[in-house]
Symmetry: C2
Amino acid sequence: MSGGILKGMRVVEGSAFVAVPLAGMTLAQMGADVIRFDRLEGGLDAGRWPVTASGQSLFWAGLNKGKRSIAIDMKDPRGREIITEIITAPGDDAGLFLTNLRVKGWMDHATLSARRPDLCMVTLLGDRHGRPAVDYTVNPAVGFPAATGPEGSADPVCHVLPAWDCIAGNMVVSALLAAERHRLRTGQGQEAVLTLKDVAAAMLGNLGIIGEVAVNGVDRPKAGNALYGAYGQDFLCRDGRRVMVIGLTDRQWAGLVKVTGTAEAMAALGRDLKLDLADEGARWKARARITEILAPWFAVRRVDDFAADFDAAGVTWSVFRSFAQALAEDPDLSTRNPVFSEIDQPGIGRYLVPGSPLGFSALPREAPVRAPRLGEHTEEILADVARLPSHAIAALFDAGIVAEPNTPRRLAS
Amino acid sequence: MSGGILKGMRVVEGSAFVAVPLAGMTLAQMGADVIRFDRLEGGLDAGRWPVTASGQSLFWAGLNKGKRSIAIDMKDPRGREIITEIITAPGDDAGLFLTNLRVKGWMDHATLSARRPDLCMVTLLGDRHGRPAVDYTVNPAVGFPAATGPEGSADPVCHVLPAWDCIAGNMVVSALLAAERHRLRTGQGQEAVLTLKDVAAAMLGNLGIIGEVAVNGVDRPKAGNALYGAYGQDFLCRDGRRVMVIGLTDRQWAGLVKVTGTAEAMAALGRDLKLDLADEGARWKARARITEILAPWFAVRRVDDFAADFDAAGVTWSVFRSFAQALAEDPDLSTRNPVFSEIDQPGIGRYLVPGSPLGFSALPREAPVRAPRLGEHTEEILADVARLPSHAIAALFDAGIVAEPNTPRRLAS
């Protein structure tokens, strides 16, 4: 990174999978020097799918953009000592460490902060009991799959987006920035701890779902693709495309009724049901009947027939796309969107890669930087951060404690 | 908030719905003084479902915890001037503003920063074209519903968790903390802008999905509740409960095979398919056959029969629950979890409420603070932040520009 709002900050990351790598990448895309360390053979996520035909992880490439990589044998005490040096290296804007690896002894906060008392460390765990947890287990545990999918179905539907990881990863960023802010004011370091399970459990309360159960005594049933609590529904169009249409706010609802020319029909429906559809809750209660009125309108129209009118009227709507359709037809997923660039990723090739979705007016937008090869920066980090003389670095290579850069992959057997 | 890592920071929030209210609440739960301003009748989300029988919004109560509330008539120029004063009020730790409301003229960055040049403002928009967008439209546009749900089904399945809002809200927090950090170093204020659509578009790249389409030419199909790219599957047990079981890492896979006693069957399957199931991608390819081996094991057992063994062996797993089941049976969703407290919310009652999932070792954990009534802090904010003398405050009440506190709700007609 040439600039960025966090330029000068150095963050060390010992991680795998989504949340903490995403946190490090988010910081790197804001300009921080983020050093991810891994075993010589790569971390647990080195071969995480999707992978290319040759076994290169597109997942790893996506979540480690803009970082520096050091790969080192941490079974060797010299390897552990070097990582400790890197985590606790001096510098006012250093001494910042993110991890989701539970390594007792040498890599815990007590040990590391003995070396650098003002270390700011953020640790993401599975659950508060010390049990492992992943997005795929946290989500069923708190109840979302049971409320997802077609109305009346008894089968739980899990989400495909690892949403809890993405939320927790961004909370790791906030926690680090808050802890560093506190250090700047007090000189005090600390460890911030969060668990994936608690992130999900808390969100259940934040969104009013705990209250819905505890106060209203309601266990929210599946409602298909309907927007909960107001009006929003998917419709099939004449061209076979499906659209999502929103009538959450008064304005959205009025716009939808106007462009579909259904004002009279909706007024009659309100009279019939003795509901004022200007009230969002009334729209929720009447949603099936509202959909009956709107569905024929969409069924005889192609998306192209109404897209411009919908946009002009400020209707909040979208077509449904597959991932490939989104890439093929949405200009927001192309270099026409300044968030994206085409860059070369060693071992993978040239493809569309996002930078940070955050734009800061005081600084130019930074183009995305590719992910490192595994161990690509080992030698420079040993020299610049661990401050090892060249003969000591050579000795580490000779001893096999560090090695030439590799591309993170797992060989299929 | 009596303490918290951001104690002393003052943030003003002009917002509605999920993302920016969540951002403000997250900052409030870290100790910031967060002032949310609204119209006298409440914002667009004042009646957002879920609501209680009397129309009180559990959603609003969940997303505005720990904030101060001022309600004011912003159609009146005096109301707008007061909000401007509050946003740009002096203080080294003030001049921080979050919004997702597009109000031209008086509330944009150009106008506000003319009053306080070092203002740090974070603005969340729908998409980069200025069109409105909500979680329910962004998600279909980028492709997740098309990849969600039962294998072979053509029907898109939308998620129930507003994941993009939750992710974007946490990015708003990071953006504010990064901008304030930059201000501290340079004296410079700025506006950080992000869009909900770009947050989703970028995540598609971060997770490797863009590469999967662009490099591999694969449009990911639905795979039911299977963990993508390795092994993870849901199983129905003898007691009618369903569990999710994960074999993502080597250790998780080995643990699962061991406790289910299926080592021989898996070895035979590997020979049959000419795949080494120690490779995660091989497990993905063989997932249907693996599931055939494991399903009978679960079908003859109750969850209680294997729960302790699974935990002892470090298997990563979870039962599926509805929201009500999660509240009824999961101690992580109770006051046994220090994240949660039971607190009184005016107009709603006493129920289980989460504090921040973040624990900072340098400071005691803060109990959650209830959401304000609409306009609860109007008078004190006019006095302490807008610095109006009492006669001027009285005049505002007389003119109807501010009013007595209210509970945020929308009357059903």
